[in-house]
């Protein structure tokens, strides 16, 4: 599939990387020659140097044959203009990054309709959403929802004294009669799709699916419950902080924001008067202690510097803050932070590139059982996909125990009539279902790919 990407910054590069890996024909446009040269050296893409809103540049990139056009330059207005031009010149679908809250809250639908935008993405808002989910269920490292929230997939880290340590999955099933399924386990750097004989160890990162309304109960029975964060300290008055604070405040939590820039603090306070805004250097431990880091439920580091986020998070961790989340954009630093004991890391660029590659994958497969949602789990080595079952699916109405499925996949859930079913060998796929499949290693485009 032909995809054009304008703007090769952090997010653009991350999108390029994931789209190229999926086997798309990617054309990258940027107006900085040095940046575009570097992209051409690293990824197998065509590079065009120029302004993405310029007809000639777009023509050189072959916009009329593009199925997907993504504008992620630093400027919202330029992104909109690029997408508008591309749409008029024949690009089938357009995605623009629009970050300014003013555009997002008041007239986004109007802008989208008038400009012919297919999707607008707002990385900061998306990241804030992810952070909010994590704070709501602090025991989990990561939470993803399928089909309007009926089925959820959570990633958990087994603590050293976990009750699950040394338990095989069959025993686990026998002991806890809950309706859940452990569908992926990450141990050190390897990821397993476990079968019944798999024995859990503390230190594992596990992914499990369960119906949403059962998750709290399940975590309680498993003994890893943790009350949701009500008192949150955010470091850095960034846009993500704004979206997150707004969301937290509106659901009745208390939020304290720390930033060293006076002007930004003032702006933040103007926009969200209910939040407590502290102007001071967040790297100063004295200040953090004074502002009660010892007694807070959660600490979120959102400054613009990865290293600072990591270091202050380690400090917060050492003060026994129950939930510490840090924003780390660079992959290699994120991995280092994990080794240092920070289990909750968010990365806006990864969030966005996951969303874009999901969208691209769904476009590639417009016929057949198409992809509804796609999540990358366990640092991207496992994918969870939700398919709409099409009537011509070959394995229809055959119990799973009689189907010959591929070895490296797992059917993690079925959503039937808005209810989540965790499948056993006797369940089967019926028309109209939505099926959640966990796959490692290969790319899935269609539900039929699960069959041998």
């Amino acid at each position: 599939m032909k995809i054009i990407i304008v703007g090769c910054g952090k997010i653009g590069t991350s999108i390029i990387s994931s789209l190229v890996e999926e086997g798309n024909d990617v054309v990258a446009i940027d107006n900085n020659q040095a940046v575009i040269d570097e992209i051409g050296n690293i990824y197998d893409v065509m590079c065009v140097c120029g302004n993405g809103a310029d007809c000639e540049t777009l023509e050189e990139a072959g916009v009329s044959k593009a199925e997907l056009f993504i504008a992620v330059t630093a400027s919202d207005e330029l992104n909109m203009l690029c997408c508008f031009m591309a749409e008029r010149m024949g690009a089938k679908h357009t995605i623009a990054r629009i970050r300014n809250p003013e555009y997002n809250y008041n007239n986004l639908n109007f802008i989208r309709k008038k400009l012919g935008l297919t999707v607008s993405i707002n990385p900061e808002w998306m990241t804030a959403q992810e952070l909010y989910n994590m704070l709501k269920l602090p025991a989990a490292v990561k939470i993803e929802t399928f089909s309007g929230g009926n089925l959820e997939m959570i990633e958990l880290l087994l603590k050293p004294d976990s009750a699950l340590d040394g338990m095989s999955l069959i025993d686990l099933r026998r002991k806890y009669k809950g309706n859940f399924l452990i569908c992926a386990v990450q141990r050190e750097d390897r990821v397993y799709i476990p079968d019944g004989n798999f024995v859990l160890k503390s230190g594992d990162k596990i992914g499990l699916t369960a119906a949403q309304n059962e998750i709290q109960k399940l975590l309680k029975t498993l003994g890893i419950v943790q009350k949701s964060a009500r008192d949150v300290v955010i470091l850095g008055a960034s846009r993500i902080a704004y979206y997150l604070a707004k969301r937290l405040l509106s659901s009745g939590n208390s939020v304290k924001v720390i930033d060293h820039d006076e002007k930004r603090c003032k702006e933040f306070a103007d926009m969200l008067p209910e939040a407590i805004v502290i102007c001071g250097d967040g790297a100063e431990q004295e200040l953090l202690l004074e502002e009660g880091i010892d007694s807070t439920d959660a600490f979120v580091a959102l400054t613009g510097t990865d290293e600072l986020n990591i270091l202050i998070s380690i400090f917060a961790h050492s003060r026994n803050v129950p939930k510490v989340i840090s924003k780390v954009n660079r992959n290699e630093l994120a991995q280092m932070a994990m080794h240092l004991g920070l289990d909750c890391i968010v990365s806006p660029k990864k969030t966005v590139s996951d969303i874009v590659s999901r969208y691209a994958r769904a476009l590639r497969n417009s016929v057949g059982s198409n992809i509804e949602t796609l999540y990358k789990l366990m640092d991207g080595s496992v994918e969870a996909l939700e398919f709409n079952v099409s009537p011509d699916f070959k394995g229809m109405e055959i119990p799973f125990k009689d189907l010959s499925l591929r070895p490296d996949i797992l059917i993690a859930g079925i959503i039937r009539a808005r209810k989540a079913i965790i499948p056993t060998g006797n369940d089967m796929i019926l028309p109209g279902d939505r099926v959640v499949v966990i796959a490692s290693g290969q790319q899935m485009l269609d539900l039929s790919d699960i069959l041998k």
Binding site: D25, N41, Y43, D44, C47, E59
Partner: protein, 482 residues
């Protein structure tokens, strides 16, 4: 340095050569030349075994390469290719000396067309075919060919393509390197087929038309007759002359033609400069040689053929231009250095570099007159960035340096100045024939083995545009871990 991957690719290339050798083997079967058949088969088996062993020993999952590996792969591939490609000549006994065979093979793969054979017509058919087929393979590039057919290449194969494709800036025409390679070969094959059919239509036998088309397509210039193209009909001469001009044009333009982006083609500075240079040279030479032939149509035809043959660095001839007046010879010598367009199969400096160099000179002159002037160099309707300007100027300096070095290295030979200079330029620019003893009717046979190796090296330098070979031969690339 990812040595494993470098040698792994070399293994793949050795396998590819073995496969390519089946074609001349087929020709040997057709013409009942069993001695040559066994020579090709022995070489093919040797090459496939060598390639498989190397590829097996060096298999690796690490396919991350950088510019350095690109240079190394290209340099090793071309040297290895020439060493293996020379074997059939020696084994069959048609060219007994290995150095001679190597010279001939390098001359073939680098699309030069210089020969050490004094009596071409004595060579067997399958050997003639192999000689010309090396032109065709070398023209577009062996690694580009490998990239088009081998799957799961490195994500960064652009480094290999850049090292092998000629021209100051190498760009892709479609997002994926592999598809770019496929499209280039597709265009190449289509143009080759068209020329074969046209030549057949003009009265050439099948064998001759195929062999001459290979020579034209790669802009090589190996013929199968003592008088090159001179003995064929005027129609064939015109077809070859026009075809040479077409093969000297940047292949990206043909792709733009296919996707109907005519405006982008019209904007190509290089194309217009190329055509203008051809037009001016043809006119001047035609006037200059009119007194010899005393026929307007003959002198225009001969002049057109020779100009297109030399500027595209092919080296076919329809007349002995050794006997032409000095003005014509000087123009021909100049055209040798210019070469064809970047991204074509032609050699030489490349027109785009020549144009940029001239504009650079103008820019410097203007800067001397107006010391505070802010200037830029325009090419294809866009300003050329300083890095490209610098690399073009550097390339020219290195080019001159290499030519001078090669020229001095061969001046121990007992030939006159004209012969030695033109021989150096003809091999370095991958043209083929020069003046004097190495003229269109002469050969390189009388040079010593040492000079032949110098020439072979010069041809490789010229084809790969100097840097890959020099960098790959410098120990620092190989010694340090990274």
């Amino acid at each position: 340095m990812n040595k494993k991957y470098v040698f792994f690719l070399f293994g793949r290339i050795a396998q590819t050569i073995a496969a390519l050798m089946l074609l001349p083997a087929l020709v040997a079967v057709i013409y009942n030349e069993y001695k040559c058949l066994s020579a090709f088969l022995i070489t093919a088996v040797f090459s496939v075994v060598l390639g498989t062993v190397i590829a097996f020993c060096c298999r690796t999952d690490n396919r991350v390469i950088y510019a350095k590996e690109g240079f190394a792969i290209v340099a090793i591939a071309w040297i290895g290719l020439s060493l293996i490609g020379a074997l059939p000549f020696v084994i069959s006994g048609e060219i007994p000396s290995y150095v001679d065979a190597l010279f001939e093979t390098v001359s073939g793969f680098t699309t030069t067309g210089s020969t050490i054979l004094t009596d071409i017509e004595a060579l067997s058919r399958s050997m003639l075919f192999w000689r010309s087929f090396t032109h065709w393979v070398g023209g577009m590039g062996v690694l580009v060919f490998v990239m088009a057919i081998v799957s799961n290449l490195s994500e960064r194969s652009i480094h290999i393509m850049r090292a092998e494709m000629p021209g100051p800036v190498v760009g892709k025409i479609v997002p994926r390197v592999r598809n770019t390679a496929k499209i280039l070969y597709f265009i190449y094959i289509i143009m080759t087929v068209i020329e074969i059919i046209l030549l057949k239509f003009g009265g050439m036998p099948w064998f001759d038309s195929i062999v001459h088309t290979f020579g034209t397509a790669g802009t090589g210039g190996f013929g199968i007759k003592g008088d090159s193209i001179g003995g064929y009909s005027n129609f064939c001469q015109i077809v070859i002359a026009v075809a040479m001009i077409f093969f000297g044009i940047n292949f990206n333009l043909y792709y733009l033609l296919l996707i109907r982006r005519f405006r982008s083609i019209a904007k190509s500075t290089e194309l217009w400069a190329y055509l203008a240079i051809i037009f001016v040279s043809v006119s001047v030479i035609a006037f200059n040689i009119y007194p010899i032939y005393e026929s307007a149509s003959d002198s225009v035809r001969l002049s057109l053929f020779q100009v297109s043959s030399i500027i595209t660095t092919t080296g076919f001839s329809t007349a002995d231009f050794n006997l032409w007046p000095s003005l014509s010879k000087s123009i021909i010598l100049l055209l040798m250095c210019f070469g064809g367009c970047a991204g074509s199969t032609a050699g030489g400096l490349k027109i785009s570099r020549v144009v940029i160099l001239f504009k650079l000179i103008l820019k410097e002159l203007r800067r001397m007159l107006h010391p505070r002037a802010v200037t830029s160099v325009e090419f294809d309707g866009k300003a050329v960035d300083n890095q490209t300007l610098g690399s073009v100027a550097t390339y020219f300096a290195v080019y001159v340096l290499c030519v001078v070095t090669a020229f001095i290295a061969i001046s121990f030979e007992p030939f006159d100045f004209e012969t030695n200079l033109s021989a150096t330029l003809a091999t370095f620019n991958n043209v083929g024939p020069g003046f004097g003893a190495v003229g269109p009717m002469g050969s390189f046979a009388s040079y010593s083995d040492f000079s032949k190796i110098v020439f072979s090296f010069a041809m490789l330098l010229g084809r790969l545009e100097i840097f890959p070979l020099i960098l790959a031969l410098s120990p620092s690339v190989w010694m340090k871990k990274r």
